[in-house]
């Protein structure tokens, strides 16, 4: 399947690009909210497992999954992710996967801000610069290079 450049694309394709953008932008807000619920719910589980534990006993994944399924905050967080997944599937239809990711970089900003305000986590120089690098890195991943001849 060939993907025409934005300039060559017919109007309905440009409209669907705008719709994809709005869908994914909504997903960043919903995703950040879901993340707060998941962090809050995960803290209530009191099940201290390590990756070594899981490798020794893979059934821990299912038992932990049951713990998740019986926690209201986690379930609500998962529901929001379910909504997100549906919206993302719509947004990804007929698009290159990596080109919609730059918008998702906003999620790192929302989650960091909410972590500081809601969870009272602390910020330091390295974390702030690190997150800026990640947001910058994710943002340029989807940059379209100047076309060189036929795509």
């Amino acid at each position: 399947m060939t993907s025409p450049t934005v300039l060559e694309a017919p109007l309905d394709t440009r409209g669907s690009a705008r719709r994809s953008f709005l869908l994914v932008f909504s997903c960043t807000l919903i995703g950040a909210l879901a993340q707060m619920l998941i962090k809050a719910g995960a803290g209530q589980l009191h099940a201290h497992v390590t990756l070594i534990n899981v490798l020794h006993d893979p059934t821990l994944v299912f038992r932990f999954g049951l713990g998740i399924a019986s926690n209201v905050k986690l379930l609500f967080g998962y529901c929001l992710y379910g909504v997100n997944t549906g919206l993302m599937a719509l947004a990804l239809k007929g698009r290159e996967l990596s080109r919609l990711y730059p918008i998702i970089a906003l999620t790192y900003v929302w989650v960091t801000l909410l972590s500081l305000v809601v969870l009272s986590e602390h910020m330091n120089f390295f974390r702030a610069i690190g997150i800026a690098f990640i947001v910058g890195g994710v943002s340029i991943l989807g940059l379209k290079q100047v076309a060189r001849g036929a795509e």
């Binding site: 990711y101 974390r127 910058g136």
Partner: protein, 117 residues
């Protein structure tokens, strides 16, 4: 409170599994025909959702201890895998911007872990 290494390893595992979820969602999205029936019988989407669920269990294991400001940005390491799978399965080319982006992400995650104290 220092974020434990165990949590960091869980998030790394989660992002690896989740990157396959993205691949299956993409495959499924190409087969969406509009009707709800075809959506529910779309096995690519079903596998993608299952992989995301599995990935999420590891994620919850990870964030049950430690700070979200350290752990959440590490999800971005999943892009390393996703870009590799996009190249392998969807023939999406490596570009300079992707390579530069990946380098920035890895540097950013390294900085955040340096700030884990």
């Amino acid at each position: 409170m220092r974020t434990p290494l165990s949590s960091i390893l869980f998030i790394l595992t989660s992002s690896f599994i989740g990157s396959f979820g993205a691949v299956f969602l993409k495959l499924g999205a190409e087969h969406i025909k509009g009707s709800l029936g075809s959506f529910l019988r779309n096995y690519w989407l079903a596998v993608g959702v299952c992989l995301y669920l599995l990935s999420s269990v590891f994620f919850v294991m990870g964030v049950s201890q430690g700070e979200l400001t350290i752990l959440y940005p590490m999800v971005s390491l999943g892009y390393i895998w996703t870009i590799l799978w996009a190249r392998l399965f969807f023939k999406e080319p490596f570009t300079m911007s992707k390579i530069a982006g990946l380098v920035m992400i890895i540097f950013g995650v390294a900085l955040i872990n340096f700030g884990n104290a």
